[in-house]
Amino acid sequence: MSFQLSYKKTDLDLTQTLNKPKKWYYVAVFLLGLGVAWGAGSWLHQILTGIGVAGKNNPVGWYLYITTFVFWVGIAHSGTLISAILFLFRVKWRASVYRSAEAVTVFGLATAGLFPLLHMGRVWVFYWTLPYPQMGGLFPNFRSPLVWDVFAITTYLTVSSIFFLTGMVPDVAIIRDKARGWRKKLYGFLAQGWQGTDNQWRHYTAAYVFLAALATPLVISVHSIVSWDFAMSIVPGWHSTIFAPYFVSGAIHSGLAMVMLILIPMRSAFRLHPYITDHHLESLAKFLLFTATMVGFAYFVEVFIAWYSHNPWEQAIFIYRAFGDYWPAFWSLFVCNLLVPQLFWWKRFRRSIPFLVFVSVAVTIGMFFERFVIITTSLAHEYIPFMWGLPDLTFTELGIVVGSFSWFFFLFLIFAKTLPVVSMWEVKEQLDPPVVRKSKDRTS
């Protein structure tokens, strides 16, 4: 960590993010609020009228909602990866980025979790998918991947929220110490009586390692389970054993891109350059290059197996993806997810902010397309040619998708002004401990 930083400067720099926001912030919050309102209104309309106001039809029962669901679950993956796995591997550069990454996880899940409800025909009885004591003795069907999904998502949301809040405790305590009024109460609650005693630190660091160890398998399991929503079916293009690792690497890929997309503007807005350095971004870029090759490998394996298996249904679906109605989506995912990140082989591009943004945007779009292609093309061209068909894009469905993006960024903006976006205590861990010296520069 840069030598000019001190504990005190760190505290000052990283709590100034909570100062009274500027005008652009309110404008942004308002606009995103409008987006959320559009989404909420669309949902209400859909509940009252029926799911038919979205564009699904008979062959294509899952469409943009499930696409967006998988997209957000994927986004949610990098957070825990960066905070937990990299923590366990003692990767130092994670310290300044993990807080934002965790926020992306929690808000990503908070967004993704809405979609299983959104796409349900009768959302008012969604609780039937939960195991609860019921008079008739009816329980969910544990053979259904959708039930696994319910557990996977709720577990992940719980663990990542706890991890997020626990990691914040020492930082929140600093804010609490300076806050007054209701803020003091709020931060006091979040700080959970943190005093920074040696005993507390001893327990805290141990607990943090355990939590990290607990969260790590979830990174793998959650998206594996999400992938089984597809892989467990007999739909050509879905029914594939590669899906779990394929989805996990894709999830991390998209998550890293989203973290980058959030960090770069945030760094400029809050002037966090000393904390989130180009080195950090470069590390993320390298990671993105790695996941890009993993994802690319999965793409080729999928196509190869379709050819190698001699399974006519599987072959037909890949030919359809490449040359059928959605061919632009198919080819653009190759370009966006695999080819564009290859730029990061050159340091020049890894260090260039515009290129980082460009690649991150490309990967985000590409990963959305990837889920879209997997879900929609497979359903549109299944076994019975008579029942092939394309869905319709409606205003309501679009509204809900746009609403979900608004909702995510809305939550993030609120977070950025209420909680420290960079972990103070972990940054400080990497600094030289303050030595009381009588020197001019120290007192000035």
Binding site: T49, G50, I51, G52, G55, K56, N57, N58, P59, V60, G61, W62, P116, H119, M120, G121, R122, V123, V125, F126, W128, T129, L138, P140, N141, R143, S144, P145, L146, V147, V150, D229, M232, S233, I234, V235, P312, A316, L379, E382, Y383, I384, P385, F386, M387, W388, G389, L390, P391, D392
Partner: protein, 992 residues
């Protein structure tokens, strides 16, 4: 006596209530709380069946109407009726949508001078009518009163005549748009008999049809379809051949072994060439002089010339002739709108001669049992009628259930002619185009609410009885009205004193039938029995002189071929017929079997023509004839001849209720108003039209995703040779059975489902399925399937649990190679898999496996994730995207045994589980297991060719198993390799 239990129950039910019915009159007060004092015959939850006659087309099939709690909920075929033998087509099923149509007229209406309607009471209306008629009689204009009816026979027909006679008039026109004038004219020209004979398809060893779509709309489609499949069944050695000659690949044509498309207007030359070959072969059954004379009258038409003009080479005509010569007896049928051109009469005469020289007259073409249809007037009669109206010769016009304003050419101006008549009275249930032109509209009962009788052939008389009390208490039975009017005007007669005059009238007429049968049973008992049976079926064969040629000299002419323009071919839609089905939502939503389009009509253009004009599917095309022009979306279809365009009749209503209005365009307006000189028929086809491509493209509301199989073995076809080879191998035990996955008992790691009592299954013989889609509408009727409307069909949300998948043969890779498409049909419903992909994926057990092997769907448990539908390889699950409406009183039709599903819920075929439960209940009450045949699914019940057989797979002697056993070589399961183990086995289609 061999009387199945179900039939026995139906008869008993029908009989008991029939005896009680005369007590029911519309005057009884209806209480909001029914059955405070329970009705003796009506047991809540028990169906009562009434026998009646279907009046949706002139065929006159017998029906059973299922009535629950006083409401008719389903119409099925009457097994005793000789025309349809228990089956029913889609239009017959949809007669309930006529009965419960929300756009039915409910009050007498009088037109004000400004064209708006004034509602009258019945007293006012009757008084108005009586004074008007009395004045006409007083002014001695009684002979200028005219009556127009559709094809009627029996009591109502007689009553209309009596009504006219009492006024001193004989102006009566029985008009049907498809009146088979040319057929009668040709029979008159050849045999001197202006009649429509009975065609016996069942006996024919080879069939050729010249444009007669007898599986869809021609004469009596249900009985023809049944007989046709009977004769086409594989007899162990071969199948009988069927060749279709006509400009368009219709449903009938695609069921043929060969489709020959000569240049429109040259069909008679093909027929003559065939006749020539037959006469030249020396194998004709005619005497030598007759043969020579016939040869002379057709001389001058050389085979080479014919081949050049018709585009059908001599080899094909020769093989056609040989095919007919080899088969004894054979049958050649001809006629119908698709060849309804100038030369139709010549075609039909030539066909008559072919039948004659082959000796088919008297065997497969029987003039000893002529159809009552023969009494219909012709289009020429109608146009003369219109002329006399225009000239003011008619002082009052009465009409019922006939819609000439819609079914005649725009330029005939029938509507305008009506305005020249001081008094036009419509006895009508619906505000159709003609009714809208009337001065006085009197709403009448539909046929399901009326008494009456109908005689398709002499001696086969169906008896109609009201299946329920009238839906609207303000409508009247036409017969009652006529009797009352007649007696009021003449001041004679006593029937109007009775509560149900027409019932008395019908009964009185049946007394003579009773006498004629010579039975010793007393009339009342006999009458009750006839009511329960649905009529008296004792066809009388007239023993008249043998049919001889009226003359041996015929004149045939070569047509003028017009190269520049397109030739228009019109054809009646299988579901809408002449347009009368257009206000039935079930029929609007029923996909046309060939194009799979719903809710509209279209213009069929050959791909090569479409390419030349730059027309693509869905492009709006303006069709211009010298009479009028209409705009229609294009359907590019290899099943029409190049240079020919085809348009179905039936859409394009400007009135006729919410479901009919505004769909498609009425092609009849393009036609020439002048009747054909030769036959007096409307010139349905052969008109030359111009096509102008408009700058607009619309989506077509079709339900077909892809028209082709893409090499997938979903519909399987076997050739006769292959079938024989495999059968022999099976017999010799040579057959080396590979391990097949997907059959019960095949290797698996998992325990199989146990079915302790029953396991329901189905066997569907694709060789018998003609694609007529009667089963689809039957399924809608039985299972409360909502109609979703055009836009929802466009975006793929039709809710049909059962669909007829239509696949064309793959087109050749080389586009220059001639492509003659042929369609195969596959009825696809839930396959009730033993290893169902839908079951494990449901998070809440809404789809689960019953102990009887059904994939049940628990509607009230479903949360609507749609995963089951995604995972269903057959794509037979349907989702309720909205809450669908059944506008009052259509909701009265809903089957009380079946849930009406709410929005957000998945639904699917249940193998009519409500019928299974009903059969199990009654079996239990009788202390026995369910016997084979106790349960009939709605689709099986309707199927005119009995292609669908349902039953218990655990019962080794059941029909469903017996069929599988007998046709082992042909049996297959769709997508067998997925190991879903469906309970539905299809038998491969046989191609000769």
């Amino acid at each position: 006596m061999n009387l199945p239990r179900r039939d026995f129950l139906k008869i008993i039910g029908g009989a008991t209530v029939a005896t009680a019915l005369p007590g029911c009159t519309p005057k009884k007060p209806q209480s909001l709380i029914p059955y405070v004092i329970p009705h003796e015959e009506i047991i809540p939850g028990k169906s009562v069946w009434y026998a009646s006659v279907c009046r949706e087309c002139p065929a006159g099939c017998g029906v059973h109407v299922r009535v629950r709690e006083g409401r008719a909920v389903k119409v099925e075929g009457n097994p005793l009726h000789p025309v349809n033998r228990g089956t029913l087509c889609a239009r017959g099923q949809a007669s309930l949508h006529g009965l419960y149509n929300p756009d039915r007229l409910q009050h007498p209406l009088r037109k004000r001078p400004d064209g708006s309607w004034e509602q009258l009471t019945w007293e006012q209306a009757e008084e108005l009518l009586v004074t008007e008629l009395q004045r006409i009689v007083k002014e001695r204009r009684g002979s200028r009163v005219a009556w127009m009816t559709p094809h009627l026979t029996g009591s109502l027909d007689a009553l209309v005549d009596e009504f006219l006679t009492s006024l001193g008039s004989r102006r009566r026109l029985r008009y049907e748009p498809f009146g088979f004038e040319t057929l009668k004219e040709a029979n008159k020209a050849t045999f001197g008999r202006s009649e429509i004979p009975m065609y016996d398809f069942a006996r024919a060893q080879a069939i050729v049809s010249f444009g007669a779509d007898f599986l869809e709309t021609w004469v009596s489609p249900v009985s023809h379809a049944r007989e046709f499949t009977e004769t086409r069944t594989f007899n162990g050695k071969s199948v009988n051949r069927f060749v279709y000659v006509g400009p368009r690949l219709s449903l009938t044509a695609t069921n043929a072994d060969e489709w020959i498309a000569p240049v429109p207007g040259t069909e008679h030359l093909v027929a003559l060439a065939v006749l020539d070959f037959i006469l030249a072969s020396g194998k004709a059954t005619t005497s030598r002089t007759e043969t020579r004379e016939l040869q002379q009258s057709i001389r001058g038409i050389s085979p080479a010339e014919v081949a050049e003009i018709t585009g059908v080479n001599a080899e094909r005509t020769r093989s056609l002739a040989n095919m007919l010569l080899e088969a004894k007896p054979s049958l050649v049928v001809a006629g119908g709108p698709v060849i309804g051109n100038e030369y139709e009469l010549q075609t039909l005469v030539a066909v008559n001669l072919i039948n004659y020289v082959l000796g088919n007259i008297g065997t497969t073409v029987r003039f000893d049992e002529p159809l009552a249809l023969s009494a219909l007037g012709s289009y020429a009669d109608l146009s003369r009628f219109a002329q006399s109206m225009e000239q003011g010769e008619i002082s009052a016009l009465f009409f019922t259930e006939t819609n000439p304003v819609f079914t005649t050419a725009h330029r005939l101006n029938f509507g305008h002619a009506m305005t020249k008549i001081p008094l036009t009275v419509a006895f009508s249930s619906f505000m159709d185009e003609t009714t809208a032109q009337a001065g006085l509209v009197l709403p009448i009962h539909t046929s399901l609410e009326s008494w009456g009788d109908f005689e398709p052939t002499d001696g086969t008389t169906g008896l109609m009885q009201p299946a329920m009390q009238p839906v609207f208490r303000t409508t009247r039975m036409l017969g009652d009205l006529l009797i009352r009017l007649k007696e009021k005007i003449t001041g004679r007669g006593t029937l109007s004193g009775s509560e149900q005059p027409f019932y008395e009238y019908v009964k009185a007429r049946w007394r003579s039938v009773h006498r004629r049968t010579g039975t010793r049973q007393d009339f009342d008992g006999w009458w009750t029995e006839r009511l329960a049976n649905g009529g008296e079926f004792n066809p009388r064969r007239t023993t008249r002189l043998p049919v001889r040629l009226a003359t041996r000299k015929y004149r045939f002419t070569s047509p003028q071929i017009n190269d520049s323009d397109f030739t228009l071919v019109t054809y009646p839609s299988i579901s809408l017929y002449d347009g009368r089905g257009a206000n039935r939502p079930w029929l609007q939503e029923l996909p046309d079997p060939m194009t799979q389009i719903t809710w509209e009509n279209w213009i069929e253009i050959h791909p090569s023509d479409a390419g030349k004009l730059g027309i693509k599917r869905g492009d709006i095309v303006k069709v211009v004839s010298d009479q009028d022009s209409i705009e229609l979306p294009a359907y590019v279809y290899a099943g029409v001849r190049p240079g020919t365009v085809a348009v179905p009749i039936g859409q394009g209503h400007t009135e006729y209720g919410r479901y009919a209005k505004g769909n498609g365009a009425n092609v009849i307006s393009l036609l020439d108003p002048l009747p054909l000189q030769s036959s007096g028929s409307q010139e349905w086809s052969g008109l030359s039209v111009r096509l102008v491509k408009e700058d607009k493209t619309v989506p077509l509301a079709d339900v077909a995703g892809s028209d082709y199989l893409h090499g997938r073995n979903i519909v399987q076809v076997v050739t006769v040779d292959e079938l024989l080879r495999q059968t022999n191998e099976l017999a010799e035990g040579k057959e080396k059975k590979e391990i097949t996955f997907g059959e019960p008992g095949s290797p698996t790691l998992y325990p199989e489902h146990e079915h302790p009592d029953y396991r329901w299954g189905m066997t569907i013989d694709l060789d018998k399925c003609t694609g007529c889609s009667a089963c689809v509408t039957a399924c809608y009727a039985e299972n409360n399937i909502p109609v979703v409307g055009k836009h929802q069909v466009e975006i793929g949300r039709e809710l049909s649990w059962l669909r007829i998948e239509r696949y064309f043969d793959d087109p050749p890779k080389d586009p220059s190679f001639p492509y003659f498409p042929n369609a195969e049909f596959l009825p696809m419903m839930c396959q009730q898999c033993d290893n169902a992909p839908c079951e494990p994926v449901c998070p809440v057990y809404a789809s689960y496996h019953t102990p009887e092997g059904l994939n049940a769907q628990v509607y009230n448990r479903c949360v609507g994730t749609r995963y089951c539908a995604n995972n269903c390889p057959y794509k037979v699950r349907r989702f309720n995207w909205f809450d669908y409406e059944f506008p009052e009183p259509l909701n009265w039709q809903l089957n009380p045994d079946v849930t009406v599903r709410s929005k957000g819920v998945m639904e699917k075929c249940t193998f009519c589980v409500q019928r299974i439960v009903e059969a199990k209940n009654s079996a239990r009450l009788e202390g026995r297991p369910v016997a084979d045949g106790d349960v009939t699914t709605a689709c099986q019940q309707a199927c005119p060719t009995q292609a669908i057989v349902f039953g218990d797979l655990k019962d080794p002697s059941s029909r469903v198993n017996a069929l599988r056993e007998k046709n082992k070589v042909r049996g297959y399961r769709v997508l067998e390799e997925l190991n879903t183990q469906p309970a539905v086995v299809y038998l491969k289609e046989i191609r000769s």
